[in-house]
Structures are given as structure tokens and as C-alpha cells.
């Protein structure tokens, strides 16, 4: 494989994404909302509006969640007052699944733009007439979706860490975030999800003529992650280190299978002769 060609494809795709507001606005707005606005409002509104933390912490769902937590995790809440308890539960546990949505959201939008978007704009044919091999074209497009998705997820995590610690420092008097379960979640699970997102989007894009068609179908993957989210909320699943590693492993396996299928579906003839279905 010739890396100068792969680099050129990555650079070109990123320039295209930069020029497409429909792609980068959701990619920036949603993470900012979740990593900055939500934690700030959760911590600052009760203190600024003089709402008693006991009132917030008395929520029955919250109490049930705490009761159902595994003992080691429950132990992590010991010694905290009710407001601290609420912050840790909300920002340390409940918000974790959002970080599973980010890599999927980023990769599906960028990969749909890169694969189905090229066909929609009829630029794919000129690309296929170049002396780049199928593997170089695929790798370039894969990296163009994967690299920003993982980087943005990690950047959002860094921002979230800063915001949560800064805003809750007056409440805790120390830095408490991230909890141990976040490390496998961010550095093991999210890259797998990003890869899974690209693989699924490439497969979906092969059957879709338009960027929106591919994006909407790929976005249904988010449903899978939402299932995990609700599992978390209802106390079914907790992202402890062990669970995180296992979930990550499952995602890596699925991602690699999807990727293998995507590689098989990516060839010049298939890209040019795909039937219109959307």
C-alpha cells in the first residue's frame, strides 16, 4: 500500500467534511451540549437556584439504581454527601453511555459523506479511474472517518473531564473524575465502536445512493447504544472496568466482522453498479 495516496485521500475527505456544514455542525454541537452544558447545568443550577440537593437525591429511580448497584461500585459512593452522591451517579455513571454514541455518530456521518456522498455527487467515478488500488481507496476513506471520530471522542472526554472537575470542585474539594470504569470505556470501547460505525456505514452506503439515506440508516446503530444506555439507567448494566473490557471485546469482534464484510463489498464494479434503493 502506498501511504502517500492514502494520506491524500484522508486529507481530501477531511477538507470535504470541513466544507459541509450538514456534517460538522452536529459533530460539534452535540458533544458540546453533552460535555459542557449538561454537566454545568446539573451542578450549577441546584446551587444557583437554591434547590436542596436532598430534594434531587430523593428521586425514587435514583434510589433504586443505587440499591441495585454491585457492592464494589456502591462502596465508591460511601462517605459522600447526598449532593456529591447525585453528581457522581449522574456525571460518573449515567452520562457514560453518551460517550458510546459519539464515535458512532461521528463515524456514521463522516463515512456516509465519504462513501455514499461521493456516489451521490458523482465524483466516485473520477476517483475510481485513478491508479489507486481498492485497498488504498478503502483504507484512506476508513481512516478519514475513523481518525476524526476517535480524536473528537477523546477530545470530548477531555473537555468533559475538565468541565466536571472544575464545576464540581467547590462541592468535592478535590478532583474525582474520571472513575476507573471510564478508562476502558474511552480507550477500548469507543475505538471499537468507531470501527463498527465505519464498517456498518460502508455496507449501508453500498446500497444507498444518497448521503442522507446512508446516514439515516447508519444512525439506527445508535439504537443499539441507547439500549445499553437504558440498561445503565435501570441498573442492569454498569460500566465497571471488567464490564467495559468485555463489552469492548464484543464490539471489537462485531466491528472486525463488519469491516471484513465491508472490505469484500468495496470494489470498483460494485461501487459503480449499485442499484438505487433510497
Amino acid at each position: 500500500m502506498r501511504w502517500n495516496k492514502i494520506g491524500a485521500i484522508v486529507k481530501k475527505d477531511l477538507l470535504e467534511v470541513k466544507g459541509n456544514r450538514a456534517v460538522w455542525i452536529p459533530v460539534l454541537v452535540v458533544p458540546l451540549l453533552i460535555s459542557v452544558l449538561l454537566p454545568l447545568s446539573l451542578i450549577l443550577i441546584p446551587t444557583q437556584m437554591d434547590i436542596s440537593p436532598q430534594v434531587l437525591a430523593s428521586d425514587s429511580d435514583l434510589r433504586r439504581f443505587v440499591e441495585q448497584m454491585p457492592a464494589p461500585l456502591k462502596a465508591s459512593l460511601e462517605g459522600l454527601d447526598e449532593f456529591q452522591n447525585l453528581i457522581v451517579l449522574m456525571l460518573g455513571y449515567f452520562f457514560a453511555p453518551f460517550f458510546l454514541i459519539f464515535p458512532l455518530m461521528f463515524t456514521t456521518v463522516i463515512a456516509a459523506e465519504s462513501f455514499a456522498g461521493e456516489r451521490e455527487r458523482k465524483t466516485i467515478e473520477a476517483l475510481l479511474y485513478t491508479p489507486a488500488s481498492d485497498q488504498e481507496l478503502f483504507t484512506g476513506k476508513l481512516l478519514a472517518a475513523l481518525f476524526p471520530a476517535v480524536s473528537l471522542t477523546w477530545f470530548t472526554f477531555l473537555l468533559y473531564t475538565l468541565v466536571v472537575n472544575a464545576a464540581s470542585y467547590p462541592v468535592f474539594g478535590r478532583l474525582w473524575f474520571p472513575l476507573p470504569g471510564w478508562y476502558p470505556l474511552i480507550f477500548w470501547v469507543t475505538p471499537a465502536l468507531a470501527l463498527l460505525g465505519v464498517g456498518a456505514t460502508v455496507l449501508i452506503s453500498a446500497r444507498s445512493q444518497t448521503f442522507m439515506g446512508a446516514y439515516q440508516t447508519s444512525a439506527s446503530l445508535v439504537v443499539l447504544v441507547l439500549a445499553l444506555f437504558f440498561g445503565q439507567v435501570s441498573g442492569v448494566l454498569y460500566f465497571s472496568v471488567g464490564v467495559g473490557m468485555l463489552v469492548g471485546l464484543a464490539f471489537w469482534v462485531i466491528a472486525l466482522v463488519l469491516l471484513a464484510l465491508a472490505v469484500r463489498s468495496f470494489n470498483r464494479a460494485a461501487l459503480l453498479t449499485a442499484k438505487k434503493r433510497s
Binding site: 502506498r2 502517500n4 495516496k5 491524500a8 485521500i9 486529507k11 481530501k12 477538507l15 470535504e16 470541513k18 466544507g19 459541509n20 455527487r121 458523482k122 465524483t123 466516485i124 467515478e125 473520477a126 476517483l127 475510481l128 479511474y129 485513478t130 491508479p131 489507486a132 488500488s133 470498483r268 464494479a269 459503480l272 453498479t273
Partner: protein, 325 residues
């Protein structure tokens, strides 16, 4: 004798229920220009894709620069430049960014592709707007930039699909001159897919008429005329209607292949060869015909093209009837 750089033998490509390319056989010599003429869906684009290794042939043989396109596609495509039917440019990128990207994929070193891009941008009159996104360009500007992209890496073989589509007459003339020039100076070979028969006749050495994936005829325009519609039309304007003995003489003349009357005072004669015209005119005058003007009208490529397409249409109808029986 110059060597063939493209050789196609009994090429078939099945797409769906019918073959998109059905038994094509032709070759292209170094420095030669070949036009592929045919209606939409005739198989021209599929042929170009097969020659560039984008599709695997169902059967038959293709050799481009001695390489097998589907197995050695990268090597073949590094020697070809393809102007696609639509400009296929990245509209959010500038003209320079577009050329730089395609130059990089064609393995051009950075300095060389920058220099070549500037040269082509200047040639096509795009230099002043080369830093603007291509989306803001007119249709003609996009077509010129797409041509620049095709020529960027100086490929020895060019495939041009409707190269003057969307261009104003001045730009079209510039492109025609460019194609003639690159052939003359660099010895580049050209496969031109077009509906523009005058363009094909002006720019190409040979013409292949294609329909339903089949090559209906192949040769120089003159060869095709002789093959498909031998002879030439002669328009005769009369001072007065022809006497009966003149009509009888015309009908019995072996040099007159067809007589078409258009009114009392004008007729068109299809004569077998140019040399027969003076003899025929003398005979008409001798028998009392009062001739006002005699104008030879050579068979145009358009006449040949439509005659071939009509013949193919009739064959198709016959095939369908035969299949239904």
C-alpha cells in the same frame, strides 16, 4: 507499422439480463484517435470502464499497453486519463486542491504536480479563480477543469467522454485545438465517446459506430461511407420539367443508384462515384434536359450513422419477432 496500444478481442460484458458489451473487437494504434459513436446506453461508457479495469470482462480479451486491465488496473490507469461524462469534481475543494489530489493519486511528485497544475490552469483560463471552491464555477469552467485533471499526469492514452459538452463555441474550439495539438506534439492516443458527429469526424482518424454493445461498423469516415452508403448524392436543379426520355435514361443508367424527386424542378440522384458525374450531366443535356445547377453532396457521417442505427433497429425488431415465434 505502428504498434497497437489497445487490443480488444470478442469482448463481452454481461450486466443484468442483457450484455452491455457484446462481442467488441477493435484495436488502437499509438497516436491514433478513435471515436466511439452511439446513442445513450450503447455500451461506450462500459467499454471505457472495461479498458480501465473497473469491470472484469465476462469473456474475451483486452490488452492495454500489453497489460490486462482488470488484473493490472493500477498500472493501466497510471497510463490513461479519463474525462468522465460529468465533470466529477470535488465542489467544496478549490481547483488547485482538486488537481493536487488527483496528481498525488497519479504518483506525481509534489513540485511537478504544482507546476503542471499552474500550467493547465493558465491554459484553460482558470488561473484567476483557482483558489475558489469549484462549486461556484460555471458548467463550462467545470468542464475545463475536468479536462485539466485528465491531462494532468500526461497520460499517453486519453478517454474523452463528450469533451465539449457544456462548453461555449469558443471554448469548444479551444478544446478541439488542444486535442489536435496533444496528438501532434506528444503522440497521445485518444478514444473519444461522443454524440457529436462533426467533432468525431474532425478529431478522429477512425470511427466506430456502436449500439446495444455491438460494433456496427469501424473505419475511417471515408471507409464507412463507402461501406455503408456507397456513392454520393447529386442535387440537380432544373429550368423546366424533364422530358420522359430523360427519365427513362436515368432509370436505366447503371451509375445512378437511387432517384429522389423533390418537386417538379429538383431531383436528387445517388451516383456510384464522382467520375460518373460529368458523363451523366452530358447525357442529360444531350437528351434535352434543361439544367440550372448540379451540386454534388457528399454523404455525411451523420447519414452513415443513422443508416447504421436504422439497420440495427430493424435487425433488433426481427430478432424480437423471431424470439416470440
Amino acid at each position: 507499422m505502428q504498434q497497437n496500444i489497445v487490443e480488444v478481442m470478442d469482448l463481452i460484458y454481461d450486466y443484468g439480463e442483457r450484455p452491455a458489451v457484446n462481442g467488441l473487437t477493435f484495436s488502437l494504434r499509438k497516436g491514433e484517435a478513435l471515436a466511439l459513436l452511439g446513442p445513450n446506453g450503447a455500451g461506450k461508457t462500459t467499454t471505457v470502464r472495461l479498458l480501465n479495469g473497473l469491470f472484469a470482462p465476462t469473456s474475451g480479451k483486452i490488452s492495454v499497453f500489453g497489460l490486462e486491465p482488470f488484473r493490472q488496473g493500477d498500472d493501466v490507469r497510471s497510463k490513461t486519463g479519463v474525462l468522465t461524462e460529468t465533470p466529477a469534481l470535488y465542489e467544496r475543494l478549490t481547483a488547485r486542491q482538486n488537481l493536487d489530489f488527483f496528481g498525488c493519486l497519479a504518483d506525481m511528485p509534489s513540485v511537478e504536480r504544482g507546476k503542471r497544475a499552474e500550467e493547465l490552469l493558465a491554459f484553460f483560463g482558470l488561473h484567476d479563480r483557482a483558489s475558489e471552491p469549484v462549486g461556484a464555477y460555471s458548467k463550462g469552467m467545470k468542464q475545463r477543469l475536468a479536462l485539466a485533471r485528465t491531462l494532468l499526469h500526461r497520460p499517453p492514452l486519453l478517454f474523452l467522454d463528450e469533451p465539449t459538452s457544456g462548453l461555449d463555441p469558443e471554448a469548444a474550439r479551444q478544446v478541439h485545438a488542444l486535442i489536435e495539438n496533444i496528438r501532434k506534439e506528444n503522440g497521445q492516443s485518444v478514444v473519444l465517446c461522443t454524440h457529436n458527429l462533426a467533432e468525431a469526424e474532425r478529431l478522429c482518424d477512425r470511427v466506430g459506430v456502436i449500439n446495444r454493445g455491438r460494433l456496427l461498423a469501424l473505419g475511417t469516415p471515408d471507409e464507412l461511407r463507402k461501406q455503408v452508403m456507397p456513392g454520393l448524392w447529386l442535387q440537380v436543379d432544373l429550368w423546366s420539367p424533364l422530358p420522359q426520355q430523360v427519365w427513362r435514361s436515368l432509370e436505366g443508367n447503371p451509375s445512378v443508384l437511387e432517384i429522389a424527386r423533390s418537386g417538379e424542378l429538383t431531383l436528387r440522384l445517388l451516383v456510384s462515384e464522382q467520375a460518373a458525374i460529368p458523363v451523366l450531366v452530358t447525357e442529360l443535356a444531350r437528351l434535352g434536359g434543361q439544367l440550372l445547377a448540379v451540386r454534388p453532396q457528399p454523404i455525411s457521417l451523420e447519414d452513415v450513422y443513422f443508416a447504421l442505427q436504422e439497420k440495427d433497429r430493424q435487425e433488433n425488431v426481427a430478432e424480437v419477432h423471431h424470439a416470440l415465434e
